[in-house]
């Protein structure tokens, strides 16, 4: 199928149903699970994308694929509960995979799996610290995809437990007995006794005050839209990062239906995000550069702004919201190169207490902490020491806000970019497909299910496998091509000829073959038949110095035309092929262990790490010239090569079959 750039394709496997198992509060999963898992795959590489899609569908997942990160993000936003898990490539041109990871974690809180051909430790570590729940190395095998459902379950479990915990917290009395999530976060990061106790007191105050506000019913999932987040950020900035406690933020935001818990968890994420931002400001941020154009001139002055100033500016209307977003986005994008200069101190601070935070959270055994750890893994701040965070440069905080607000801009650019690249891609793709599909001939379904009839001969006996052999009555005649039975064949040429026996009788087949061959590109040199023998020939001349090969072809006179070819071989071949096609994929399951199972055109080739008993075959193959001749001529007839006969077999003078009487 023609997948233009920037498009989104949703495919469902035949057997899957759209099972919604996002119902909160329940530990049960539907029976069909994990079938129907809704996966969003994002990768700019069309090859990988297609392969992943197929693999995921084979796992009975419901797959949506996208080659644009921004598109994927907007899809996720539009349909918050439409996906269970996201798989994203790390290196993408329009957006860094880690950026996407952050957004998804911040806004949708879905599990995200990163993947890349890059297996270097630091990239994998980056995935971990940004909160990816898994990291796959390309090429991705289907086995790796079969188990991705575990991440969804795991996440859900933690969410449910967290919610349960929140409720129990709110209902119980007492200060010290249960620690609200943010409390633990704060303490987990700092490890300082003084601070801890003072903070806890503060939190407990908040907690007791708000206990009455909390409902006992399950809270619906809060959607942190861009606008909501903007309000949140404004509130946080207004309060000051060190004084921003969930209760106050909630009051400032004044959003009906929003609970303190929602704000609290979002705050955690936000803080970690800020930390992340400063910490990785060395690396290039993957924001789309297309909306950098405007603020370039103003960027120079950005670094001196702090978040409050920006907000103030915005508030006074001097900076319209739009340009604010743009400025911020640009600043954020450029923070990779410039923020390092503007806040060296902050980075050091961040790094220095990032480590203890991580260490500490590793050590904690409590559920809360594992929850926090997950939040941490989201790349979202869990450290809430106001003192330490006060060190955080205001501009970095505003950069984050910018990033959030930059979304709107990003979405605007989507359509334009999509359109442009779509046009370009589609034309090239169409051309390519035509080329490779040989234009005129549409490929008939190629069945993979031709089990091999294994011939045994002398020392090769040991690898005969009964099931693979598949002695279906129809194939038996086919199999009878084996050594011991020669009665079926009544001609001199190789049975290889059989597949082209039709030529002697059907001009239509010849036409078909002509069609097939007519598109053989000149650049290819010579047609497949010769190519194959070139491969084999190279080996032969290397190893055995066989002189015969070249000369035989040169002198071949095609007297062994299949003019005498009896119908029977072709019949048998046809029967064989059609029946083998029916025989399904038996061979597949039979091959196991330490073997490399190769399917090729439906035949089964097993490569085992065994030694063939030594037999000296050195110079005994085709002692008679015409053996090779037959093979070659048979091949030639099939190919019906037209003039493109430069071969190393010295075959210049060969003329195509159609000049020969049949």
């Amino acid at each position: 199928m023609n997948l233009g750039v920037g498009s989104v394709v949703k495919t469902m496997s035949g057997a899957s149903c759209s099972v919604s198992w996002k119902s909160g509060g329940s530990d049960k999963v539907p029976d069909q699970f994990p079938a129907g898992l809704r996966v969003l795959v994002v990768d700019d590489d069309p090859t990988c994308l297609r392969i992943l899609e197929k693999m995921l569908r084979n796992c009975h997942y419901e797959v949506t694929k996208s080659n644009r990160a921004e598109l994927a993000l907007s899809m996720l936003r539009e349909n918050r509960n439409g996906f269970d898990i996201v798989i994203s490539d790390v290196h993408m041109p329009d957006m860094d995979g880690f950026k996407l990871l952050e957004h998804v974690g911040l806004e949708m809180d879905l599990p995200v799996i990163m993947m890349s051909a890059d297996d270097s430790k630091d990239v994998v570590m980056k995935g971990v610290t940004h909160g990816a729940c898994d990291y796959l190395i390309k090429p991705v095998r289907i086995e790796a995809l079969k188990n991705i459902w575990q991440h969804v379950i795991r996440k859900k479990k933690h969410e449910w437990k967290d919610k349960d915990f929140d409720q129990s917290t709110s209902m119980e009395d007492g200060d010290q007995q249960q620690k609200p999530p943010e409390d633990v976060d704060y303490s987990s990061s700092a490890n300082e006794g003084n601070w801890k106790s003072s903070k806890r007191r503060k939190e407990e105050e908040d907690e007791t005050e708000e206990r009455d506000d909390l409902s006992t019913s399950k809270k619906p999932r809060v959607v942190w839209s861009v606008e909501l987040h903007q309000q949140f950020v404004q509130a946080v900035n207004q309060l000051g990062i060190d004084k921003a406690v969930p209760k106050k933020i909630l009051e400032l935001m004044n959003v009906p239906g929003l609970t303190r818990e929602n704000v609290a968890s979002h705050l955690q994420k936000y803080r970690l995000y800020l930390r992340r931002l400063s910490g990785v400001s060395q690396h290039q941020n993957g924001l789309n550069n297309s909306f950098m154009g405007h603020p370039e001139a103003t960027y120079g002055t950005m670094t001196s702004f702090n978040g409050l100033e920006l907000q103030a500016l915005a508030a006074t209307g001097q900076l319209p919201a739009q340009s604010l977003a743009t400025l911020q986005a640009a600043a954020l994008g450029r923070s990779a190169t410039k923020s390092a200069i503007s806040m060296p101190l902050d980075q050091r601070n961040l790094f220095s207490f990032e480590n203890p935070k991580l260490r500490f959270s590793e050590g904690q055994q409590q559920l809360n902490n594992s929850n926090k750890q997950i939040n941490l893994l989201h790349g979202i701040p869990t450290t809430m020491e106001p003192k330490q965070l006060a060190d955080l440069h205001q501009s970095s905080q505003s950069f984050v806000a910018m990033n959030m607000q930059g979304h709107a801009r990003m979405q605007q650019n989507n359509a334009l970019l999509m359109h442009m690249s779509q046009q370009q891609q589609q034309s090239s793709r169409a051309q390519m497909l035509n080329e490779t599909n040989n234009g005129q001939v549409s490929l008939p379904p190629l069945s993979m299910s031709q089990p091999a009839a294994v011939l045994s001969r002398n020392s090769i006996v040991d690898n005969v496998r009964g099931p693979v052999y598949n002695p279906v009555p129809q194939t038996s005649s086919m199999v009878d091509f084996s050594l011991n039975q020669t009665t079926e064949l009544q001609n001199n040429s190789f049975p290889l000829v059989s597949s082209n026996s039709g030529m002697s009788t059907l001009t239509s087949k010849r036409l078909l073959q002509e069609e097939v061959n007519s598109d053989i590109k000149g650049s290819r040199g010579f047609p497949p038949g010769y190519d194959i023998f070139e491969e084999l020939h190279q080996q032969k001349t290397q190893d055995w110095g066989l002189p015969n090969v070249g000369s035989t072809f040169g002198t071949s006179d095609h007297s062994n035309m299949p003019g005498t070819l009896d119908v029977s071989p072709s019949m048998l071949v046809q029967q064989g092929i059609s029946s083998m096609k029916k025989n399904g994929q038996n061979g597949n399951s039979l091959m196991g262990g330490s073997q490399l199972n190769l399917f090729s055109g439906g035949n089964l080739l097993t490569v085992k790490a065994e030694q063939l008993p030594d037999t000296s075959y050195q110079n005994t193959f085709f002692p008679e010239q015409f053996g090779q001749d037959d093979l070659m001529s048979a091949l030639l007839k099939q190919q019906e090569s037209v003039g493109q006969v430069e071969t190393e077999f010295g075959f210049d003078g060969y003329s195509p079959l159609d000049n020969h009487p049949v």
Binding site: K138, P445, N491, F494, Q539, V573, Q574, I577, K581, G601
Partner: protein, 179 residues
């Protein structure tokens, strides 16, 4: 010569061929027709390292609902690779080479070639990335040349393989019972 004897010789020939090629033992189907030829060709491609196990994975993914899956994916790969190789050529042609960009392209080529099982192409990408790190235009150009070569080779092989398969199916599917 009697056909049976011919077949024997052919089998012996193939057996010796593969023994000479490598230490692995092959059990192959000697249905002495195009299928066998295609099979053996495929085995040679594997043995010579043009394709690796990932390609087999692709073949196993192909089924009735996606009968042309392998061809489709490989076509995508061709398209993608040619675009990347062009981009690489242009990028290395600049007076000031953007090695980060070059590295990004090579990385993507590595990803896609490994996904289809084009082993030799993938293996060329590793030294290429090292050259990018060293920011050495000359060695990069040499790597690019190698990649081009390997790509054209594997493209040729794969096209051969597909055409063989086409002909098998054409032979099996198009010929009615004839007398």
């Amino acid at each position: 010569m009697e056909v049976g004897q011919l077949q024997r010789s052919f089998v012996e020939y193939m057996a010796s061929l593969f023994r000479e090629i490598s230490a692995f033992a092959f059990v192959f189907v000697v249905i002495l027709d195009l299928s066998a030829l295609e099979l053996m060709y495929f085995a040679v491609l594997i043995q010579k390292g043009f394709l690796d196990a990932q390609f087999s994975q692709l073949q196993q993914l192909q089924d009735d609902s996606n009968p042309d899956f392998v061809v489709e994916v490989v076509s995508l790969f061709f398209e993608d690779s040619e675009r990347l190789i062009n981009d690489l050529t242009m990028a290395l042609d600049q007076p000031n080479v953007d090695f980060k960009q070059v590295d990004a392209h090579v990385h993507q080529l590595k990803g896609s070639s490994s996904s289809v099982g084009a082993q030799r192409v993938k293996n060329c990408c590793v030294p290429f990335r090292n050259c990018c790190e060293e920011q050495n235009t000359e060695t990069c150009l040499r790597c690019l040349q190698q990649i081009k070569q390997e790509y054209l080779l594997v493209k040729n092989k794969l096209q051969t393989l597909f055409e063989l398969e086409q002909q098998i199916v054409a032979a099996g599917g198009a010929i009615p019972m004839v007398q």
